[in-house]
């Protein structure tokens, strides 16, 4: 018999109000099935169950508010016999969901995951009782392999068309790990792009098309220079402590036309001029899309930039790419009224955001870092 507890639907949730039950006693439930609707401070939320079984008893009436962790239903597990009438069972104490302690995975899956270095916790199980099977690990492995394939030089292979690049699994694993392990904090700042745009327009007007620059390169360069000044945003969280990067290698999130994205690194981005960086960036994008990155490029980033470009929304709240400790986001530039010298003027603005690892830095440091980035963009000639 297992207790189904009022779940915590957010770190700030202390209690929830049961709005309605979606199941009745005697119903068979499957892991992942919505069994109840719970009202929280954030609104009504569908609550899923985390194990298979049969609903034995609903302990809480709709309309009741109960603290997180209190049993709200009792579940008979698969294979468990119907209870026989007898002495009342000892009252269950409210504890954490027992099956969250250890991932349910088959021995073969565990061995294979260990061999491939795949984190079982990031996988969804398709086996009995939601257990992770060898096939699940294999799927994650081949997803990663196809990413590695994108990484490894593959001269004989024609580029992208029709090639099934299943990098979804790799992204899922990395992002699940990021959200599970990294305590992100977020900062945002509006940047007046006008100085940069004017500088860029001048540059591009006076250079042939092959030597022109994209705004994204200014942003990459600004982040690189700021990261060199603020080393606690440039490096990795490894084995419980921060390890500074051996240089400023700026990962750039590049979306692949067939879906998914990769974030290969521009090596030593703080030590290259804008035209050099532009060439390197162009080369990186081309090879990323042709599936010809090198392993060190793909894995070598010490900090990442995610830029939405021209077609997108104003603001991005990026997710840190583990084991890195910071990522800077740039939204799509927008023309907005802006107060300059006491007057309202139309200006091109971009929203810069920072997601950083709270284990390594604090908001105050983050603010200084983000200000450094935006300050550099105000003075494009210093880039």
């Amino acid at each position: 018999m297992a207790d189904f507890l009022m779940p915590s639907l957010g770190a700030d949730m202390d209690e929830g109000t049961l709005v309605q039950w979606e199941v009745a006693p005697g119903d068979t439930v499957r892991r992942g099935q919505v069994v109840a609707v719970v009202e929280t401070a954030k609104g009504a939320i569908d609550v899923e169950i985390f194990r298979d079984g049969v609903v034995e008893e609903l302990l809480v009436e709709p309309g009741t508010t109960v603290p997180v962790g209190q049993p709200i239903a009792r579940l008979r597990e698969c294979g468990e016999a119907e209870p026989t009438p007898g002495p009342a069972p000892a009252p269950a104490t409210a504890t954490a969901e027992p099956d969250t302690a250890r991932v349910r995975a088959s021995p073969a899956a565990r061995r294979q995951a260990e061999a491939l270095g795949i984190d079982l916790e990031a996988l969804a199980g398709s086996g009995p009782d939601g257990a992770i099977t060898l096939e699940d690990v294999g799927r994650a492995g081949s997803a990663r392999e196809s990413m590695a394939e994108a990484v490894a030089p593959a001269p004989a292979k024609p580029a992208a068309p029709g090639r099934p690049v299943d990098i979804r699994g790799a992204i899922a694993a990395a992002m699940s790990r990021a959200k599970r392990e990294i305590p992100h904090y977020y900062l945002g700042h509006w940047v007046d792009l006008s100085p940069a745009n004017e500088w860029l327009a001048d540059w591009n007007a006076s250079h042939p098309v092959a030597e022109r620059l994209l705004p994204a390169v200014l942003m990459l360069r600004a982040v690189a220079l700021a990261a060199a000044r603020f080393p606690d945003f440039n490096g990795f969280w490894r084995d419980g402590k921060f390890v500074a990067g051996d240089g400023v290698h700026v990962g750039t999130a590049i979306s692949l036309r067939r879906g998914g994205l990769v974030a290969p690194a521009l090596k030593n981005a703080d030590r290259h001029s804008l035209p050099e960086l532009m060439d390197a960036f162009r080369d990186l994008v081309g090879r990323a899309r042709a599936g010809r990155l090198t392993g060190s490029e793909l894995l070598g980033g010490t900090i990442t930039v995610s830029s939405l470009g021209e077609q997108g929304v104003e603001e991005v709240y990026p997710v840190i790419y583990p084991p890195q400790v910071a990522i800077v986001g740039f939204g799509t530039p927008v023309e907005r009224p802006w107060v300059v010298g006491g007057r309202i003027e139309p200006r091109w603005l971009v929203r810069a955001t920072l997601a950083a690892d709270h284990r390594v830095s604090d908001g105050r440091r983050g603010a200084l870092f983000l200000e450094a980035v935006t300050g550099l963009l105000q003075e494009p000639e210093t880039l």
Binding site: A160, V209, A210, P215, R257, E310
Partner: protein
């Protein structure tokens, strides 16, 4: 320059920039970036390839003329007179 010559140049330029896009499947009157994931880097590379092939400079202010294939053809025809 003849129209079919321009067409060939555009075809080659696009194939170099985005080998996974099918030229013939693009609607000529609709901006490429509305039909496919075609970003500013692609636009820039497209401009570079066209400018190299045709031996003309394409100022940044003219990039909007490269947005759709039909508009691009008209623009290049005008530029190469």
């Amino acid at each position: 320059m003849k129209t079919d010559e321009l067409e060939r140049v555009m075809r080659t330029a696009l194939a170099g920039v985005a080998p996974d896009l099918e030229f013939d499947e693009l609607d000529p009157e609709t901006p490429i970036r509305d039909q496919a994931d075609f970003d500013s880097m692609d636009t820039l590379n497209f401009a570079i390839a066209l400018s190299r092939a045709l031996g003309i400079d394409i100022p940044e202010s003219d990039y909007p003329h490269l947005a759709s294939l039909a508009e691009c053809r008209r623009y290049l025809a005008m530029r190469t007179g």
